[in-house]
């Protein structure tokens, strides 16, 4: 059962990614990407990593995708009107993918993935994860925060209006 579920989910993720790459409308592409990320979260859950699955949904399928949508809407809001797809079956792929994901999620909740062949050895408690993050890899977290700070500095420089040049001194 777990093996079958793995292949179904993997197929859904691959299909969603392919559809995401081939769409003309960026909003549709983002929605397919959400499907792919959600499918990945279910795969993590199947492997016996419920915490990773929760973060995958909260961070990627949630926060980052909302950011994507914001950026697309800020860049060109007219795009949705121009690129609206026609046809009776235009809802079919997205409906099929969502339905399949929902069904897989339901089956996953019914069965206990750990009992059905999850990888117990790598199961991680939130406490152990927090310890690794801020003890063993504390320096990495610090460096990452500095990288983000300088990403902001760079974005500020490149995005600034041209007349805001440095005062001649």
């Amino acid at each position: 059962m777990a093996t079958l579920l793995f292949y179904i989910l993997a197929a859904i993720v691959l299909m969603a990614v392919l559809l995401c790459l081939t769409r003309n409308n960026p909003v549709h592409a983002v929605l397919y990407l959400v499907h792919a990320l959600f499918g990945l979260a279910l795969l993590y859950f199947l492997l016996g990593a419920p915490m990773l699955a929760a973060w995958q949904v909260i961070l990627y399928a949630g926060a980052i995708m909302v950011l994507f949508l914001f950026v697309i809407m800020l860049i060109d809001p007219d795009l949705f009107e121009k690129k609206a797809s026609r046809g009776r079956f235009r809802w079919l792929p997205v409906g099929f993918l969502s339905g399949a994901l929902l069904a897989c999620g339901g089956v996953l909740i019914m069965m206990d993935p750990l009992a059905a062949g999850g990888i117990v050895r790598y199961r991680l408690s939130p406490r152990a994860f927090g310890r690794a993050l801020f003890d063993e890899y504390g320096l990495a977290v610090e460096i990452l925060s500095l990288i983000l700070l300088f990403a902001a500095v760079g974005a500020f420089h490149l995005g600034r209006r041209h007349k805001g040049k440095e005062d001649a001194s």
Partner: protein
């Protein structure tokens, strides 16, 4: 992390604090502050009162890391000094410029000192992020924006390859620790295909950053579009840091299936770089293709036995770095508000207009070509010797042939400088900071070529 680790992390901390502080200084102080900050970092590394007994996690503080960080800090300081003219001429924001240069040096220091695949990735990202902005720093220049985009897209691809490779290596070995992950993969014979694919992906990401053929396509356009001091930092510092990381903490040559890949990268870089450099008439593009060839030579150090490889490779990085910083610095020092002199035609009669510049440029190009009394010759001698010892005769013959052909494209600008005296005017005088950098580079090129013993002692410090 505890307070005991502070001494080991002090140079990195100083680089970061410096790069943030500089954002709050008056604009005219920013670049000199950046240069001083580089020197302060070197002082902190070698100050005998600071002993880094407790090692920090993820980054080493041994001799290798010390010498590498010193090198990148020196190159960063030189870049700050060289950037002054170009920032003033084109009215660029000097605070952000100095801050990003210091942050790039911070990334290079982490990259070359990394003892873990995690810090390798983070160091590479920090360095690359600073360069994404620095390459496109002059927003009014369309070639600058093009160069930024051409650096950004391969950069993303390289990051994706690197993280995928790291994931596969972790899946195969269960370790992020760097020499350990290599040794664990080498212990299993034949190597598992997962580990092999992982290391190959990591190597190709490094090849992107070091612009080894066939991953070199972004190089000429990025060098041409970036401000010259940035191109100098990119060519000497960032590529040097990638090579240093491969040399110091990732003995890939221990993995048998990687050896033909490394040899192939070296051979392709030498052949493609040499033939692509031949028809160039743009100084920066010629230097870009020549850097592809030089990176190909440096792969020979990766193939050699690790001890000899580190010594020969880092000596070569020093000689190549001095020559490259000086070459791009000279291009920057001849720039005016209209832009940089790019074509060989701009060099016509330079020997008469500005004899010192012409002399130094000749010296630098001859050193890059590997003429005997200069540093480039000694570097090649040591490097090719190390490769011969490990039995790569065919690669050494190829390298010798490509350095022979390289004389053609290095001598062409020299002939233009001394031959045609067409242009009037002496060009803008060299300012103090540039004079300092040029004197230092010339000293390294001349001393490492004639009396290399102190440099060999320096790189002998780096051995584990």
């Amino acid at each position: 992390m505890t307070w005991d680790m502070l001494p080991a992390l002090l140079p990195l901390l100083a680089l970061f604090v410096g790069s943030v502080t500089v954002l709050f200084l008056p604009a005219r102080r920013a670049l000199p502050f950046g240069a001083w900050c580089g020197l302060l970092v070197i002082g902190l590394i070698w100050w005998p009162g600071i002993s880094s007994e407790v090692p920090a996690p993820l980054v080493s503080s041994g001799g290798f890391a010390k010498v590498c960080t010193t090198l990148w800090a020196l190159i960063g300081a030189a870049t700050c000094l060289l950037a002054n003219r170009c920032c003033l001429n084109r009215r660029l924001e000097r605070r952000e410029f100095a801050a990003l240069i210091l942050f790039a040096v911070f990334g290079m220091a982490i990259l070359s000192a990394s003892t873990s695949l995690v810090s390798l990735f983070l160091g590479l990202e920090a360095m690359t992020l600073a360069f994404y902005v620095l390459v496109a720093f002059n927003r009014e220049n369309p070639t600058g924006a093009e160069a930024g985009l051409k650096y950004l897209l391969p950069g993303f691809l390289a990051s994706a390859l690197l993280s995928f490779g790291i994931a596969l290596v972790y899946a195969a070995t269960g370790s992020f620790d760097l020499p350990e992950a290599v040794l664990l993969s080498a212990a299993v014979a034949p190597m598992s295909s997962v580990a092999l694919l992982g290391w190959a992906l990591i190597l190709s990401a490094a090849a992107f950053k070091a612009s080894l053929a066939p991953f070199h396509l972004w190089t000429p356009d990025v060098y041409q579009g970036a401000p010259s001091p940035v191109a100098g930092l990119l060519a000497s510092g960032s590529k040097g840091a990638v090579i240093a990381a491969l040399l110091g903490s990732m003995p890939l040559a221990l993995l048998d299936p990687m050896r033909p890949l490394l040899a192939g990268l070296a051979a392709l870089s030498m052949i493609i770089g040499t033939f692509a450099a031949l028809p160039q008439t743009n100084i920066k593009r010629m230097l870009a293709y020549s850097s592809v060839v030089h990176m190909g030579y440096l792969v020979l150090a990766l193939l050699a036995d690790q001890q000899t490889g580190i010594q020969a490779g880092m000596f070569y990085v020093i000689t190549y770095g001095a020559a490259t910083v000086a070459a791009f610095g000279l291009v920057a020092s001849m720039s005016d508000s209209g832009g940089e002199p790019e074509n060989y035609a701009a060099l016509d009669g330079l020997a008469r207009r500005s004899p010192w510049r012409a002399g130094l440029f000749t010296c630098v190009l001859l050193s890059l070509a590997g003429f005997p009394p200069l540093a480039g010759f000694m570097g090649k001698f040591v490097l090719f010797g190390a490769a011969l010892e490990s039995g790569y005769l065919w690669l050494v013959i190829l390298a010798l042939l490509s350095s022979l052909v390289s004389c053609y494209y290095y001598l062409r600008p020299i002939i233009r400088m001394f031959n045609v005296a067409s242009k009037e005017g002496g060009g803008a005088p060299v300012n103090g900071g540039e004079r300092l950098v040029f004197a230092l580079c010339a000293a390294v090129i001349l001393i490492a070529g004639t009396y290399p013993a102190p440099f060999f002692r320096l790189v002998a410090n780096m051995l584990p």
